[in-house]
Amino acid sequence: MVTELYTIAIFILLLAGCIASLLIRKTEHTGKIITILNLVALLVALTLFYQLNMQIIQPVYWFNFYIDELGTIITILILILSTVAAYFSVPVINGDEKSIKRYYFWFSLFIFAMVGIGISADILSTYLFLEGATIFSAFLVAHDRTHEAFEASLKYLIICSFGTALIIFGLSYIITINIVSFSYQDIYLFLQTNTTTDITTIKIIFLALFFGFGVKAGIVPFYMWLPDAHAEAPAPISALFSGIMIETAAIALLRIVDAFSPVMVMVPELNLVIIIISVITMILGALMALVQTNIKRLLAYSSIDEIGYIMLGIGIATQMGVYGAVFDIINHSFLKGMLFLISGALLYATGTKDMRKMGGLAKMYPLLATSFLIAGLSMGGVPPLNGFYSKFLIYEATFEAGYLWATILAMIVSLIALGYFIKATHMIFFGEPKIETTTDGGAAKKLPIEINVSIVILLILIIIASIFPEFFLKLVIDAISGLNSF
């Protein structure tokens, strides 16, 4: 009963944020109140995780949710990023009263829907929350109300809605093989006991679900929405998109791979499909990131690159691959969350997203420069930073599973990632200053305390993950052991 109560508390806190955003008259306080609500929800989630991890309480099914360690880890990541993003929003989101109310209203609903995806126990509720997250976040992408913002949000909404409809197609075929429920657990048990089921139908179901959820993760044929939505959304929203939203879709895919594992053992082509698509995804993301001049588009393509790694780990479907994938999700959410917040800080300071117009900012903003460089090196897989450990696990898993070509390509892509991050660091922070980033007195435009604190919090988390990777890895291993087949 305790587990359910914790979850109810988290949901109530997030929905309270949604109501509070409409009711608070003095909109300058809304952001702070939403931050506090998210922080309290985070503390609740941490307590829940501690009790699950110490086996004081057991994972439970509650409605269509399955509250286990994996779901709780994702909830914690969502709430860390949402707290930081809400705090970051305080100075960044300005404008009239109505637009601020609208922003925090959709923000709270968006976080609520993502927590829902993280702990959903069946395909239908995952689909519901996934589409909910799409709709709520489309309004956040359009927040700036510019021509580009509307276009990006329409494109995002249309592509994602067309894509996720494939999930209903998968559901239609699930009922044809007489599975009586859509829960991941039931599908796993059914496939394990009924080994004579028609393999072709199961392949159709699996591929429909894979591509349906993959749209939201930004895998290759359906990645087009991702760079635009990330580039046009306000910076805290981009941090949430890249830091956690695409990863929740990856977690949904992990649960699907887990549920279909009895069949995947027999049909290795399914693994191969995921591996090929993830390798194409990472190559495309890395090459496109190399040629970008808009910092947010660069980071968005870098996310496509990274989702390729996560999908590769899931596609290998060995224990080590999945450990690598989930560990990479944790690392990526800290890293990319921070990088997008830095891009927001740069936009605040210089008024542009174009890297060609920046330059020489390291002197004025040493914190931004240091954090950007650390995150960039970590994304490039430089030891001893946290990005290295998760990537190394994925390489090793890929190699052990016998996909040497994928291992080599993944390593090359990692080098390219290092290349574009060094290039970006150079363009932004070093060289000759190109634009007037200084105020009249000659001093740099001072960043508000909220922006600095948000970035420092994520930087500290990255440093902790770099120094104690084994601690995080142990949490991941405990969480994965709750799944059926890993």
């Binding site: 309004f139 359009a142 494109k155 067309f162 209903i168 009922i175 044809t176 007489n178």
Partner: protein, 207 residues
């Protein structure tokens, strides 16, 4: 498959093909409503009562009302670069040929699947060819309703527990309404801000 069902299948795909081609949004709304009613009748004849009621309420009534309301704000006629008799012929040809090939040449698949795949093709075609955002919403409605139709027809064939069917149909219909309302909301606000409703003109971002 009896003659009535066969007739209704062809009627559905023809109505769907015409709906995405009509130039006047008042007529589009009426055609979409007719499409909703025809699919409702197919579902009802197959004995899926709940599915047909949900289908009628969403696609026959609510979505057309939303589109009518939206088109009041953006004007009732479509101004497109590519339109006219040729696209109507293409659209009808796609609809009729996919159905005929599916039903009479490939014998192995059932008519439920053929109907759904034809409607999915028409919806995708509308997304690819039509510029006007309201037309894209119409295309999305047809596309998404095809998946609902497939699910409710398969539910008749394979008899999953009734609560399961009900949950899926209600959930997916709510999502359909949510997506349609959101696209229309964003499209209208974009129109009021920039005067553009044609997605071919939305080319500020790189694709």
């Amino acid at each position: 498959m009896n003659e009535i069902i066969l007739m209704l299948i062809y009627l559905t795909v023809i109505v769907a093909a015409i709906t995405v081609e009509l130039m006047n949004f008042k007529k589009v709304v009426i055609a979409l409503s007719i499409y909703g009613i025809v699919t409702t009748i197919i579902t009802l004849l197959n004995g899926e009562l709940i599915g047909s009621i949900i289908n009628f309420i969403t696609i026959g009534v609510l979505v057309p009302l939303l589109i009518l309301n939206a088109s009041k704000k953006v004007g009732f006629t479509e101004k497109e670069k590519y339109f006219g008799t040729i696209t109507t012929i293409i659209s009808l040809a796609i609809a009729i040929s996919v159905t005929t090939i599916g039903l009479f040449i490939v014998h192995t698949i059932n008519w439920e699947f053929v109907l759904a795949i034809t409607l999915i093709t028409i919806g995708t075609y509308a997304l690819a060819v039509k510029g006007n955002l309201i037309k894209i919403v119409v295309g999305y409605t047809i596309y998404d309703s095809a998946f609902h139709l497939l699910f409710s027809l398969y539910a008749v064939l394979y008899e999953p527990p009734e609560t399961l069917t009900l949950t899926v149909l209600i959930a997916t219909s709510v999502i359909l309404l949510g997506v349609v309302a959101s696209i229309l909301y964003l499209a209208i606000h974009n129109y009021q801000k920039t005067g553009v409703i044609d997605s071919w003109s939305l080319r500020r971002l790189k694709w």
